[in-house]
Subunit: 245 residues, 2 copies
DNA sequence: GATTTAATGTGTTGTAAGTACATATTTGCT
DNA sequence: AGCAAATATGTACTTACAACACATTAAATC
């Protein structure tokens, strides 16, 4: 372990192994779900004395033999049993004092899963879904991580077809709109919303109707897969003057 | 160092210190500059045998007694002598094999500095500015880091007044447009560009003119500071239905 | 079976932003 | 004086966004 990064060699060799291998690396997952028109996040009771009574995100130390991208998948798999999940790296947090037991930096990921579809072991774990809106305080710096992740989700959800990971396979436009509203925290005009979604080329009309609803049933849609995209589009937009907005 | 992250206590205690403190943490800085209508990045000759002849980003291991956000500032200060720089975290890279000497994950930052304004010790360091467009290969996974940082810069530069960090204090609209074009890699219509910039409330008209240019001189502007923003604006837009575009 | 309720499913119109494009003006240079 | 190379600004067309109204459908109730 002679040379690391871009330090000059002489500089490095004065440094013992332990001087630099003193930072632990963890991942934390902000697992979003959606239920009853509310955005939720999966939390676990903190097992640290310093944080008794507080909830925290699901995380784990990164193993020395796994890519960091693999770590959040492993956490998700272990905790929810799901392994085909949407995951996106948000930010890395590493202030000196963020972990009471030592120097631990954490790489935050957010994940979108369909609450109904997973099989949590909610019983023996102290694992619960919490309404995002009602969370005031979390263990560690996890509230800050949550806030940042929600901010990122709000940015992403506008431009990328990821929101469907929070819904069952078939859904109506009303359900989709309710979900957008829950995430963005605003009300949307139904007619404008539908127009905007319609020309995004994200949906497939299933020619099926909602059932067991106490009103006129709406049409059901499912998300178009990546490969199904842009088949109806006339041409690919060629590189031209990009907007500055 | 008994309990870490959210592992169950029993699980933790089987694990020795060295099992988990085996990952080193570094930061790498993608330092962007602008010169001769071209976007450039500051690189150093790699001092690793595996990468002889290749260039790499400026980086260093994170010290155990500094916040991770402080590390890139330290690197910038050491290498360029500048300490009032724009820095933004981009992404954390941590594949197992990314560093030939051991397990090192790196947190990437990009920085925007005014090439003319800093005082590099370009002589005794093997430090040089490279045109971003012409970079094909770098040491480590630094090409991937560069690509990702440029992508982020392109996103940010549209919506936030950060581009001015690449320019001298006073600049003309043509210089600004050239810079946008260099970053975005596209041509922009001069008249539309000016209109768009004009209503962004980012500039102060200095009532000065360019000098020593071999053509009609343009007006000079400087960037409006954050506190000077929105004074001319009529009202703050209140929370309403957010766009989905 | 007629009425009420609570949704779905369009359509229109005004405004703001984006795009393409043309002409006159100012300075330095020869 | 005339040319070269920019600045500076305006207009018409088109597309996206926001606000808003009405007819339709199915289930539940009377």
């Amino acid at each position: 372990m002679a040379k690391l990064a871009n330090l000059k060699t002489a500089e490095i060799e004065k440094i013992s192994h332990l001087d630099y291998f003193n930072i632990a690396v963890s991942v934390d997952c902000v697992i979003f779900g959606y239920e009853n028109k509310e955005l939720k996040v999966l939390l676990i009771k903190s097992d640290l004395e310093e944080f008794t009574g507080l909830w925290s995100l699901l995380g784990d130390l990164v193993r020395t033999d796994e890519d960091i991208e693999s770590a959040p998948y492993r956490v998700l798999k272990e905790r929810t049993g799901m392994d085909d999940v949407y995951l996106d790296q948000v930010h890395t947090f590493g202030n000196i004092g963020r972990h009471p037991s030592g120097r631990v930096i954490t790489i935050a990921y957010y994940s979108l899963i369909d609450i109904k579809h997973h099989k949590l072991k909610l019983t023996h774990n102290e694992l619960h879904w919490h309404k995002v809106n009602e969370i005031k305080k979390l263990a560690f710096d996890h509230k800050k991580i949550l806030d940042r992740s929600l901010e990122r989700l709000r940015e992403q959800v506008m431009e990328h077809p990821i929101i469907f990971n929070l819904l069952p396979e078939k859904f109506s436009l009303r359900e989709l709109q309710d979900l957008y509203q829950a995430i963005l925290g605003v009300g949307l005009d139904r007619r404008n919303f539908r127009k905007k979604i319609a020309h995004k080329d994200w949906l497939i009309d299933l020619d099926e109707m909602e059932e067991d609803v106490p009103h006129r049933p709406g049409k059901l849609y499912k998300a178009k897969s990546q490969t199904q995209k842009k088949q109806t589009k006339k041409k690919t937009s060629q590189p031209e003057a990009r907007s500055l907005a």
